[in-house]
Each structure stands twice: as C-alpha cells, then as structure tokens.
C-alpha cells in the first residue's frame, strides 16, 4: 500500500465523521495549545525577572554595612544600620581588587523635597560619576553628576522621571529649576531615563546628588550606605566578591569572617535563584497542561477503538481482498497520527495566539520558544502513535471470517 493511498484512505475515513474527528482533535488542540501557552508564560516570566534584575546593573556586587556588634554587646541594632563603610573602602576596592570595572559608593536616605509649592518624600542618593556605569543608568535630559561637581561639592541634583513628574508635572522640563532638600537649595541639572520598577528599589523615584555634597550637607558624616561594584564579566563576579570580602576584613581588622561588619551580595546569585524559581514554575505549568494532553490522547484512543468496532466489516473485506496485517494497522495508525498531527498544528497556532494575546494586552510577558514548539509537535506525534497503536493492532489482528460475519 502506497503512502498516497494511505493518505487518501485516511482523508476519506476522517471526513466521513467530521464532527467526531473534530471533537477528538479538539482534545489535542487544547492540550498542545495549553502546553505552548503555559511554557511561554513561564519563560516570559523568567526573562522578565532576569531582565529586571539585570536592570539594576550588570555583574553587580553590592556591599552593605553589616550588624553593629561591639565587644560585649549582644543586642543587634539590625543589618545595614552600622556605619562601617567609608569612601576610602570604596577607593581601596577600586585600586586593590582586580577584575573590577567600576566602583560606586552611595549614600542613600529619604528626605522631604519641595519645589514651587509641590512636595514629595523620596530617596536622595549621593553618588559619584561612576554610578551610571555600575547601575546601567542613562540620562535623558541634561547631564549626570560629574567629577567636578564632586570635587566642588556642588548643590546640583539629577531627578528620576517619577520625581520629576511629582515635582514639576508630567513631562515638564525641570532643568535649571531649583528644588529644596533638607533646607538646602539644589539646582536640577538632568533627568534620568525611565527604567521601570526593578522590584528592589524604584530607580525612577530617586534624586541623585554628588556624594561629597550629600555627606557634607545632608548626612553630615563620612560614611557611605552601600558600595556597588561592577565586575568585568559575569564569570569574575564570585572572584571579585571573594577579594572584596578579604580586603574589607583586612581593612576593618576583623579576623573572624563570621563577625564581619559588612555583607556582600552577588547579583549572579540573585539571578540564579530567581531563574530556578521560574524554571520550577514553568515545569509546573507545563505539567498541568501535559495532563490535558494525555486526556486528549485518551480521547484519540477512544475514538479509534470505536472506529475499529464500527468498521469491523470493512476490515474483514479489506483482508478478504488481500490487505495484510501491516496494511490494516498502518491505515488505522495513520488516522490516529493525522488526528494528533492536525490537532497539534492547530494547537501550536492557538497557543501562539494565546501567548501573543497575553503579551499584547499587557497581562504578562510571554515568550514562545522554538524548543517548546518542537516539543509540542513531537509529543503530539508520539501521542498519535502511542494511543493509536493499540486500536490499530487490534484491527490488524481481527479474524477475517469473524469480521465478515460481524453485524
């Protein structure tokens, strides 16, 4: 029996029972499309979480002050409360740790800001000119804080877009205007590009001022609240983290690493953790969708068994005129595989459509990958073969005499 004959027979058999074939296919369509859509959702979530972590900065290591725990003291004042990091620590990291791209010491605190009768409470960060490099920040209007501003402790400020909207109104140009932070007037010299909420801190709702200015006029001391370090590439982050820890322990004269008065956070660790969470999430979603695929496969088997019973006489006739077991089983297998194949194709298109719709209407970020399509295709073909094999085998094994007598 030639392939063209099998295709023709399959078409005739399936089109003879259009409603039944369609409903059976629907099971596979739903199964495949939900697998595609669910995996797309999971992978979309994964990439959006990753990119939002990456938006904080790339290959980032953040050093924050640890718990203040003096000799004899047992009461902890809480993490990050200690004032142990200084500008000198940051300079030492820059000069002594290898594979460092840039170091950005920061002083951050919330203040009430006023401007022309408007006021808002937001985070004011004292930064150096290295900050945009380390934190992947870009300026949309004006300029960022320069080394000259730092040396002169100038009272200049760069606004995040959200702060700009709060103080001057949506999309206004604030450059050259004056804002008042903690009873000092600052001149606005730039506005940063919107980055969106990163989950950890909203960089759009921030005011940047020179570090020296922040220390002199706002905090009034020499400490920094965190040091962000950018490693040269993602492979070197752990090595850099290790070196920073050793250097700071040494500089702070601490012998026991357990008693360190600072802590370091590696961005690669955060990304890895978030990835493993979203991956588990994706697998879970795909597994739930996979169950509906199995149910669809059982639907195929059910239909094929019914078909074999209904067409017992036809099977007998085909055998009488010379069909071999292989011809019969191929014919029924082809029907089952065609059902799953078409169902799979429609399912892929539908799944793609669903994930496109979810993305288009901004509900969630989705990403359809080639691998998930190939997987769905392979699975649907396999389901056709697995669930079609038993009915086909049964049809092929029927006794021609009994099938001819079947009423």
């Amino acid at each position: 029996m030639k392939i063209t004959d099998i295709i023709q027979e399959t078409y005739l058999a399936l089109s003879a029972n259009k409603v039944r074939s369609g409903l059976t296919m629907l099971g596979i369509v739903i199964g495949i499309s939900s697998v595609i859509a669910m995996v797309a959702l999971g992978q979309g979530a994964q990439s959006s979480i990753q990119s939002s972590i990456q938006s904080i900065g790339s290959n980032l290591i953040i050093v924050t002050p640890g718990t203040q725990r003096g000799p004899g003291f047992t009461v902890s004042a809480g993490r990050g409360s200690a004032q142990t990091l200084t500008l000198e620590d940051a300079n030492a990291i820059q000069s002594e740790v290898s594979l460092v791209k840039a170091v950005s010491p920061e002083v951050a605190r919330r203040y009430q800001i006023t401007s022309r009768g408007q006021n808002t409470n937001t985070q004011v960060v004292g930064v150096t000119s290295a900050y945009p490099t380390v934190r992947n920040l870009e300026v949309s209007d004006g300029s960022f804080i320069t080394d000259q501003n730092l040396r002169g402790a100038s009272k200049v400020a760069v606004l995040g877009p959200t702060t700009r909207d709060d103080l001057f109104g949506q999309g206004a140009n604030p450059i050259g205007q004056t804002i008042r932070i903690n009873r000092s007037d600052f001149k606005v010299i730039g506005v940063t590009k919107a980055k969106g909420g990163s989950g950890f801190s909203n960089q759009d709702d921030t005011i940047f001022v020179p570090l020296s200015t922040a220390q002199r006029f706002l905090s009034g001391d020499q400490y920094v609240t965190s040091i962000s370090v950018a490693a040269q590439d993602s492979e070197s982050t752990s090595a850099v983290q290790q070196q920073i820890t050793e250097l700071l322990l040494n500089r702070h004269h601490i012998a026991n690493p357990q008693l360190a008065d600072f802590s370091t956070l590696n961005q690669a660790d955060i990304v890895a953790t978030a990835s493993s969470v979203t991956q588990t999430f994706t697998i879970l979603l795909a597994a739930v969708a996979g169950i509906s695929l199995i149910v669809g496969g059982i639907g195929i088997m059910n239909m094929m068994l019914t078909t074999v019973t209904e067409r017992t006489k036809e099977i007998g006739l085909r055998k009488a005129i010379g069909a071999k077991k292989r011809d019969i089983s191929l014919q029924f297998l082809a029907e089952a595989v065609t059902l799953t194949f078409i169902g799979g194709l429609v399912g892929i298109i539908l799944g793609w459509g669903i994930s496109f719709g979810v993305r288009y209407f901004g509900i969630l970020q989705t990403q359809v990958t080639v691998s998930s399509i190939l997987l769905a295709f392979g699975v649907s073909a396999a389901i056709g073969i697995i669930f079609g094999y038993y009915p086909a085998h049964r049809a092929a094994g029927l006794n021609p005499i009994e099938t001819l007598r079947y009423e």
């Binding site: 006489k313 085909r318 077991k325």
Partner: protein
Amino acid sequence: MIVVKDITKSYHADTLETLVLRGVSFTINDGEFVAIMGPSGSGKSTLMHILGCLDTPSSGTYHLDNHDVSTLSDDELAEIRKDKIGFVFQTFNLLRRATVIRNVMLPLVYAGVKSEERERRAMGALNAAGLEDTYFDHLSNQLSGGQVQRVAIARALVNDPKLILADEPTGNLDTKTGEIVLETFERLNRELGRTIILITHEQEVANHAKRIIYIRDGLIVEDRKTHRSKTHLKI
C-alpha cells in the same frame, strides 16, 4: 486448478470439539462453474473459507495452481487472496462512503497497481459486470441491490483472479435481480473463462452452475454435472 484432498476442519470450544468438515476431496479445473450446495450447518461456509484462503484446514491438503496453501501464515494467505481470488458476498460489503469506481479499485490499492492504471482496469471490470458508465461516480448507497451486487462482482474481477468465490450472492436480492446477477456469472464463465464457485442453499440458484457438489454434515454426498454441462456424473 483446485485440488482438495481429505480436508477436515474442527473447532474447539473449551473441551468440546466440533468436526465441521470430515474429509472432503474434489478437483475443480480452470474454467468450471461449480455450485456448492447444502443446508445450513452442513459445512459449506467453512469449505468456502478454506477455498477462499481465509482459513486453513485442520488436516488434509489444498493445492491452488499446484501450490500448497493449506499451511500458510495469515499474511501469506492475504498474498494469495490478493492475486488469485475474488470474493462476492451475500451482504455485498461495499464501502458506503466511497464511490462505485473507488470501491472497485480497492483491491488494486493493495496489489500495488499504479494509480493511472487502476481506473482503466476498474472501468473494464465494471463493464464486464454489466454496470452502466453513468453510475461509476455514484456512492454505493445510491444504487439498487442488483447494481450493488454487480459492483461487488466488478470488484472481484478487477484483480484478474483465477477463482471467483460467491457466497450466497443472491441471498439478499429478489428473484428477478437474482436471475440477472446469476446470468452475469454465467456470462463471465462462458465468455471470459473464469472459474466460479457459487455457495448456496437454493437448488434454483445452484442450477445455473455446470456442476453441483452437495455437502451435508461435513461430507460430500453428491457431485454431479447439471443439464448445462454435457455429461452427468454420479458418485
């Protein structure tokens, strides 16, 4: 040529053994028109299944064209059926959702005949079976009983088989259309020299053949030539 020697066939149901054929022997030469006759339960259907290579005997031998087919496997039997035997059934057994021409082409599909040739041969067979060209593209459920049986005869003919086996071909037809179908068989035998074996329980139907083998309780009780043949032979 068909040579059957001492064929028996028994069926086992649990421990009970039923002997359906109890030693049947005969020879049918090419070009004969034979009716196998007997009441129900006589074993004539079982004999037809064995002659049609749908089943194998429990003992004895069956030579079809000097080839022993009594011990072949299922797929080997399918091969023989495909090349040498055409079936006509009481219930016609056409594919209802397929057209007349497609029904007739079906054996050619399994025989691996090229698509271009199939239609030509199917039309030839339909003409030989006496069906008008206008019905070729009809679905089989749009035809009358006599026409359906002629389609079935065309299907049996299309593979150019040695042997045509007709199992009660007039059983579901009225007398008049039955006559037409039987005349078709006679014509095929007379004009095309086909070997035809007709299974029936009706004497009138059997009388259309040139030779009648009577079977009862699994044994041949009479094997004689009819008036349509030259001589009478009695055993």
